[in-house]
Amino acid sequence: MKSSLLAIALVFTACGGTERSRVSYPVTVSGGGAMVTTDSGWTVTLTRATAHLDAVRFFEGKVVLAKNVKPQWWRSLLVSTAYAHPGHYVPGEALGEFVGPLDADLLTTTPLAWGTADGLTGEQGSLQLTFATAGLEVAGTATKDTLSVPFTASFTPAYAIEGVRSEHVVGKNELGVDVRIDLTHIFSRVDFAQVGSSASPLDPMSPAFNGFGRGVIDSSAYVVTWKEN
């Protein structure tokens, strides 16, 4: 799997497919602060948030879900389009990848260098992010009213996170791309009133852990920003 998709794309290109050029660009990962708030009103102060990453792959296919976005004028920018069928996100042609380990401290405010992706020029639609075995590890304290819940948790997605929006026309002189892991998004579903038998580590059968896991696999928790030329 690793480099096969890109290799296929290169062969396709060489055999008369769409004209593309080889290109490389740096990839960074960023987090965004130690304080987040959940949908259920918990304020979470993180002391640790480490994403163990393994690979990022860029694809031609656009993201698939239609969702309602207001205000209206945003719609054309943010509403994803898709063929009308669950599961019809088609990654399409592989247009770039970087494979290599990174233990990203998401509490730092500056982007962390991950590596240099090799790929092809052309229009991208999405990316795929693969976590390493250790997944995403977090620790901290959640507070709400008079309650305080120290917690730790670790979740590793069973599959790569697919369908992360990355709509960009890759040129020959790209300055780089940043993948921000939005911890507010990841914690949004976690209700620390439902931690089950344990908060540290979070009971894996609890709704709180379930919400954490759903946050990690939510492709909209990953925000891709291409640096302006």
Binding site: A82, P86, G163, P207, D218
Partner: protein, 271 residues
């Protein structure tokens, strides 16, 4: 003379300058007319619909080159639980060309009229309630059956419709008649993932949502089921983080019921 005949033959073959007809129909297929069998469900349920009302509107023919063709006369309420296909409109004297930009919508309309065998009271209820989709039926397993009646106001545009067998849009033949069937897929409301290609058709979570166990699964009961209470491998939302409970989930799936000429698809956009 020979040259003239040759020119005429070319014109006839290419269809240039001719006109034809188009019949616009809709069909709920066997899944909506009869049942979704247990073999389709991952967990052995069956679903039988007794009502499957949709408001179909804004059917439009166009071409990639910018040529605009005729549009649907007005929004129509159709019950695709009734035996189909149901003809919605017939377009006559159409330019006999390939209309490769075909679109339509499923959304509420206060001015919709009934089409086919649909009860007048149902049409009124759809219009006054601002609904675009109203499904009623039962979900059953091993002798236990629960009923449901869910109404949605979702407004979805289906554009750039294409079909793997027929290609983009529809080709109207000179002097002939083409058919465009807007096919409604009733199994989609039971999928367990909004994005994954491995989505399964399931009934367990929705059937269990009947919290007061009165045999009726209401939308309030669906709303009370947070996705965080369901197994992590099921009811994935892809990037739709606003989908938090089962009612949100079925509502999101409601945007996927519209298809094009069978298994064909369109680009969907929420309005």
């Amino acid at each position: 003379m020979k040259r003239l005949l040759a020119v005429l033959a070319v014109v006839a073959l290419s269809g240039c300058g001719g006109v034809g007809e188009l019949s616009l129909t809709t069909w709920g297929e066997e899944y909506i007319e009869q049942e979704i069998p247990a073999t389709e469900f991952e967990d052995g349920f069956t679903v039988r619909y007794t009502k499957f009302l949709v408001v179909i509107k804004d059917f439009t023919l166009a071409t990639k080159t910018g040529m605009k063709g005729p549009s649907q006369t007005g929004p129509l309420v159709v019950d695709v639980n009734k035996l189909g296909p149901i003809e919605l409109q017939s377009f006559k004297n159409l330019d006999a060309i390939k209309w490769d930009r075909v679109s339509y919508g499923i959304g509420p309309s206060a001015s919709a009229t009934g089409s086919g065998a649909v009860a007048a009271a149902d049409v009124d209820a759809m219009k006054s309630g601002g609904h675009s989709l109203w499904v009623e039926g039962s979900v059953s397993k091993m002798g236990v059956s629960k009923t449901f009646s869910w109404k949605f106001d979702i407004d979805t545009a289906y554009t750039e419709c294409t079909n793997p067998d027929f290609g983009e849009g529809v080709t109207v033949p000179t002097g002939g008649k083409a058919e465009v069937q807007l096919t409604i897929h009733g199994d989609h409301l039971w999928y367990d993932d909004l994005q994954s290609p491995d989505a399964k058709v399931r009934g367990t979570a929705i059937s269990a949502a009947d919290a007061n166990n009165d045999g009726v699964i209401t939308q309030d009961e669906l709303k009370a089921v947070q996705l965080t209470s369901l197994p992590l491998g099921q009811y994935g939302t892809g990037g739709a983080s606003s989908v938090k409970n089962l009612d949100d989930f079925v509502r999101a799936l409601g945007r996927t019921v519209g298809h094009f000429r069978g298994e064909g698809e369109c680009v969907t956009t929420a309005k």
